[in-house]
């Protein structure tokens, strides 16, 4: 039988401490609110993506049904449930950026990296994410988010520089 709780086996003590921090911010009946930060913590500790086991562990640790974790992890594009490259590149293709030429930026990235949106380079360096929602940089489009950092008013040259500097 399961002598040890899944969350104690799969999540590090440090991760659990971080989740505790988030849990402390919400009342007991609203503990589900800690799910998104907890999933981030688990994802960050696992090379940028979530496994089923990690989602189960997070749900168990928070004390909610695992289906809640699956829903959140598959709903938000900031979570990945398949292995990803070391860097995540999210190019905004929402309307403002599209009007500013984001399609060209996407085409340029795809050509330069030799992959399509949603794919990862063979050397596991970069994943080009399919971004569904506006990334809130409309005044400075086209723009993209690389590993959480905003890069605005993109040109192909600027994109090359950014991508080349990724390890």
């Amino acid at each position: 039988m399961n002598e040890q709780r899944l969350s104690e086996r799969v999540l590090t003590q440090e991760q659990r401490k971080q989740i505790d921090h988030w849990l402390s911010k919400f009342p007991q009946e609203g503990k589900r609110s800690a799910l998104i930060p907890a999933l981030h913590i688990a994802q960050d500790g696992n090379g940028g993506y979530l496994t089923n086991e990690l989602m189960d562990a997070v749900a168990e640790y928070i004390g909610i049904e695992p289906t809640w974790a699956y829903e959140a992890a598959t709903f938000y594009s900031m979570f990945d449930t398949q292995p990803v490259g070391r860097h995540k590149v999210n190019i905004c293709t929402n309307i403002a950026c599209m009007l500013m030429g984001s399609d060209d930026i996407v085409a340029h990235c795809e050509k330069r990296l030799g992959i399509k949106l949603g794919e990862t380079t063979a050397d596991n360096r970069i994943t080009l994410k399919i971004e569904e929602e506006c990334l809130a940089g409309c005044a400075f489009g086209p723009m993209m988010v690389v590993d959480g950092h905003y890069h605005t008013q993109l040109t192909p040259e600027k994109v090359d520089e950014i991508l080349d500097n990724l390890e």
Partner: protein, 802 residues
Amino acid sequence: MTDNAEATNPETVTIEVDGRELEVPKGSMLIEATDNADIHVPRFCYHRKLSVVANCRMCLVDVEKAPKPLPACATPVAEGMKVRTRSERALKAQKGVMEFLLINHPLDCPICDQGGECELQDLALGYGRGVSRFTERKRAVEDEDLGPLISTEMTRCIHCTRCVRFLEEVAGTRELAALNRGEHTEIGTYVGAGVHSEMSGNIIDLCPVGALTSKPYRFSARSWEMLSHPSVSAHDCVGSNLQIHHVRGAIKRIVPRDNESVNECWIADRDRFAYEGVYSGERLQAPMVRDDSGAWQETDWETALEVAGEHLKGVVTREGGDALGTLVGPTATIEEMYLAGRLTRGLGSANIDARLREADFSDQDRSGTFPALGIELEALDGVEAALLVGSEPRWDQPIVNHRLRKAALQGGAIMSLNYRAQDLNYPLAAERVAAPADMVAEFAAVAAALLETATGRQAPEGLDDLLAGAQVGEAHRAMAARLRDNARTAVLLGQGVQAHPRGAVLRMLGTLVADLSDSRFGILTDGPNQAGAWLAGAVPHRDAGGQPASQPGLDARAMTEAPRQGYLVLGAEPERDCWDGAAAEAALRQAASVVCLTAFVTDAMREYAQVLLPVGTFGETAGTYVSAEGRWQSFPGVAQPVGEARPAWKVLRVLGNVLELDGFEYDAPDAITDELAERCREETPSARVEWLAPGREAAAEDGLYRVGLVPIYGGDALVRRAPALQRTRHATEQGVRISAATAQQQGLADADRVQVQQGGHSTVLPLIIDDALADGAVWVPAGLTATAGLGPMFGPVALARA
């Protein structure tokens, strides 16, 4: 929702809908107001028993002064609100929503199982466009296997999320999720875990489209060719109300019939899918008798009834009336029980019993009218505290569990004293796990805890003997306090008390605890009709009408332990249905004459019986069940009996005539029902057992002790033969369960399979280490094929590595 609003705020507001003035409770939603006024507003996601999400947008209506159409399901009523549900703006909005819903929905109704009874199809006809303008590609969704009961065709899903909400809010198992988003939204488990709730079939009814359909029923009939008749579930003492859908007498499926006081609009999977057993290959097709060499021969009814009559008459003539015993199975109707009782007594025997799974009858003369629930099912929703003793309602009476869950979610303290930790879909306020030998002392300790604070109440004589040295602990005091300090409380005993060798003492303690804490007291009985058995005279100590019998006969256990020369078996498989299956089988084998009225024939039956008479099952027989609440519920015979089978009441009537007994002239079952009802008029239900000082029991011997309760899909012959239910996890994951400590002590920690030995009988079963169990308790389910013919449901047992 409405109820709460009314209770806390009795005011109403006046609104106008389609020109009609309506007085509606403040705080209710528009759709509740229109539903109550019979004004139809189309909807998919709204369901009165589920939370409001307003995600389908189908119920858009035109509200005066609102800038846009508003969803009726999520718009609270307000004074003076003027609503038009059929204005041009409303219709245009509904038409627009419908067009979007149909964008990704296949337009191939003729090949969909839901076709003809589909809410989307109906509303598309009423509210949609005639022609689709959508020429782009539709999306397709891969189907997921949710288990043996529910079929999926997820491409048809319109994401109303009723299934997700039902499982979360009602079934208490959030097994389905709305995954991904936008156009990619899918309903599923994500990990392929399947849906295992004991109430899962309700999502088939809730699904407004053909995405979730019944796997056993799928593609076997069309809704417009079926007739629908009311019926009552034959599998627990709740008596859930059903509709049988059949085609020319062949049952196709079972759906719930709304009855707010019993099952609301839900039924358990057992109620829904057990009908499959009706068409089992083990049905007895024709009457059978033995020829001179002892070989079985099919024969006609007349001959078979003659032979049956000769056997029964022969036994009582040769050996006297007392040589005959009648065993009545769990699903018999009161009409059958009444006739069987009169027939048995007419032959000079008082040995008749339907309490096949009980062990202790010593309180039967001190008991109330019948083992009643003692509280209305509806009132269970609102209990502030309830103590379950030896009862696992989630598996035994799923609707009772559903109601207790509602109470628990409102803060009610549900507590359990049982042989294993409960596996529940709500939190328990207190729980004690006790080995069978400690059960009496544990329960007595709760009574003693109540006595500590009861002023002016003396401990009844002999309570100390029941405590047998056990100390009242904090846990007992906590349970006692919850019962004592709350107003709406109940003490409910289950099959773990009924089958306990000291069941009488436990029932007496239940009465005492309920008295001391001013709680309702009741028993969650076995099968659908235990109450009926007590009223119909299918017990040895009560005549029909519940009057004490002048000459009590032998109870079910005595009839198997002191074998009779002749047996009449009505709808039972004694080797599986009796408390001591081994003793029952042995008794039947040694008897000279065994006449079985049975729907199914087993190998054991072919060996011990002399006459086999095929009778109708659930759906094929008209009759009445009396639920534990005391509710008499009659139902018609709907299905054509299989083969030569006849309703058992008719068989008993003719048998009565063959035996030349008086008063067996009935034309219809209601004549029997009315006659019996007339005799039961005085009776008020009560399961109370008056106190009688018990003697001190010899201390139980140390060692392993069987707890052999009946699992959810093992209770009666029909459900045991329902293939889909038998493929569920609840049925397949059966085995011997012991705690890790017990396994360690027995040297079985690493064994996969064990041999279970009871008396001279043994069987081999998978071993499951389960720390929910009390140490020393060995969980060996009763009622299964693998455990048929083992010894008592409760008793010493030995385990050996297999």
